[in-house]
Amino acid sequence: MSYIAGVDIGNSTTEVCVGEVTGNGNLTFLTSASCPTTGTKGTIENVYSVKNALKLAMSRIGRETSDIDLVRLNEAAPVIGDTAMETLTETVITDSSMIGHNPSTPAGAGQAVGEILLIGNISRGVPGTPYILAASAEHSYEEVAAVVNQYGSGSGQHDGIDIVGIILQADEAVLVENRIHKKVPIIDEVRRIDRLPDGVPAAIEVALPGQTVRMLSNPYGIATLLGLNAEETRTVTPIAKSLIGKRSAVVLKTPGGNIHENILPAGEIYFHGDRNITINLDEGADKIMAAAADAGDIRDISGQPDTNVGNMLSRIRTGMSELDKSAEADIRITDILAVDTLAPVLISGALAGETCLEKAVGIAAMVKTQKLPMQEIADRLKTELNTEVKVAGVEAVMASLGALTTPGTKLPLAILDMGGGSTDAAVISDDGHVTMTHQAGAGELVSMLIQTELGLSDRHIAEQIKKYPLAKVESLFHMRMENGQMTFVDESIDPRFFGRVVLLTESGLIRIEEEIPMEKIVQVRREAKRKVFVTNAFRALRKVAPEHNLRNISTVVLVGGSAEDFEIPEMLMEAFTDYRIVCGRGNIRGSEGPRNAVATGLVLSYVGEQQ
């Protein structure tokens, strides 16, 4: 009787499974565990996560790692996924010339044109010229209101100056409005008010309740208000574009100022395959993917030097070169998945942190090295654990073996292994013959797309958004789920979550700091998953299917970390219905769900070898 452990080192997770084999070849599975992979897959750093996972698994049955008689490592495919994102356009405003934001409580409504007058220079004002008053947070609402009432033309003095609009730094627009005699549009919460130049003509607009700005989000509206000629109108177009959807806005007329909407030199991608194909990045994701398909078997992919895509691909390549210490030329990019996206990018020169949606392309690349140093990892494990360690079995074959333990499956069978870094597919025929492929793009690309499209500050929260459903806390006692269902709680919800969009995780609520509507997050999340996984599932299965025809596949078992997702398997099931394919989330050994397929396969193959 002996304990056999199967270990699967993946791009993001390391999984183990321990089984007991009796003398007559009977196998009982005892325990399994998984933990995050330390270091890049296939490097010596992985040893830590392997040891950790083994310890965790053994502790579940009250044993030590030293009780294990044999550890079987997967012969990991020498492919590693990586992602990169590059924006294709950018908006640059030299000389700050606009403010567009959504203060929660602006006051008044309508638009006005006037010269900027700082409150400290109020005595400079002359009757007959319209002014827009700007006050920093040092001036209280009472002070501002008093100044407006005293100097403004509404005060009854016939030589009063004409104040047509007010810009405030503090959140006090309504307070000021309630205290002044004349009603004018007031914008508040402008952080960088110190950057407003005195004496410059400006147009100000506050939208009616429930509406967004109309004049300043229209190039001709700006032209009308500020009296611009055709050439100047052309240059303010990017400003108008970035003010769309805002509740309040200010546009300054700065004669020397300049606005550019640059198209960055995106560069060309070179496919070296059966056919050599060159395609420009700004043709968009669809054309790039079509070119990748046309190129046939791809040996390598490179980018035009000194362009965005060139830098992007060489960055991926150098990142991977530390893995295989041999010459850099040995590392080849064999597949890419390109996805179109829009990224909110901070406009340089903006006054209240405005962003502009810029076109961008996200790329996941599949990097192939000669061979991963799995034997080195095995040797290190052997000395540290004091047990026999063996590198055994090709990953895809092991995954198929593991997937076959799902109740209701039989040969021939296709598996789709959706992990963090890559989407792999394999088909096993009746006689045990295995065809396989590795495709770029999986869970990490989805996280990256969610992060950029929502403009999130860190990747971690994007990962969470990918994994968990959303809800909005509508009162201290109930919340609305993303599917419209209401949930009531007995004990009041922490006020920190009130009114916010939260993620429902196993360990309680996580709140999303950015103020993004729940519907928008759901839409971006679904779209990102669809763009990556549905595209990739078709691509991968078509490659391994007999005669490259999907109709020759009857059953598909989904395994890997991303198959655990709460909506990806359903999306794929829907997409495959047209092909009459039985497709579903795997359930390894009838208990493990879609995870642990490779580790299980490794233990099973040991029994096979013994017989």
């Binding site: 929660s104 509508e474 009041s492 006020p495 103020e515």
Partner: protein, 114 residues
């Protein structure tokens, strides 16, 4: 028939004028009505509890001296949305704004000043 306009109740006892003024400014900026009533009770929590109970909108603030407390109707005893013994100007302003945001179902403002 007496028609009451919907408002946030602020129950005070020997309230510090500066604190009260900033709290009121916070509510006003959010565009919600408020009523202040002097109430002989020496506990900010009890004042807030009663204010929330009596307010048609279910949101109440209690001020005793400089101590401020924000409560909503239905909240268990000992669980306040926000409370301070000696709040700063910004904290006073935020507590007023938050009493209104609680009704508007907007996320609460936290102490970031401007």
């Amino acid at each position: 028939m007496i028609i009451q306009r919907p408002s946030i109740f602020i129950y005070t006892h020997q309230a510090d004028p500066a604190v009260l003024k900033e709290v009121c400014a916070g509510v006003e900026e959010e565009g919600v009505f408020y009523d202040t009533v002097e109430f002989p009770d020496e506990c900010m929590e009890k004042l807030a509890y009663k204010a929330a109970r009596d307010s048609m909108l279910g949101s109440g603030i209690g001020i005793f001296g400089t101590a401020v407390c924000l409560k909503m109707r239905g909240l268990e005893k000992g669980r306040n949305i926000e409370s301070y013994l000696a709040p700063s100007r910004i904290q006073c302003r935020n507590i007023g704004a938050n009493s209104a945001r609680a009704i508007k179902k907007l996320p609460f403002k936290e102490d970031y000043g401007i």
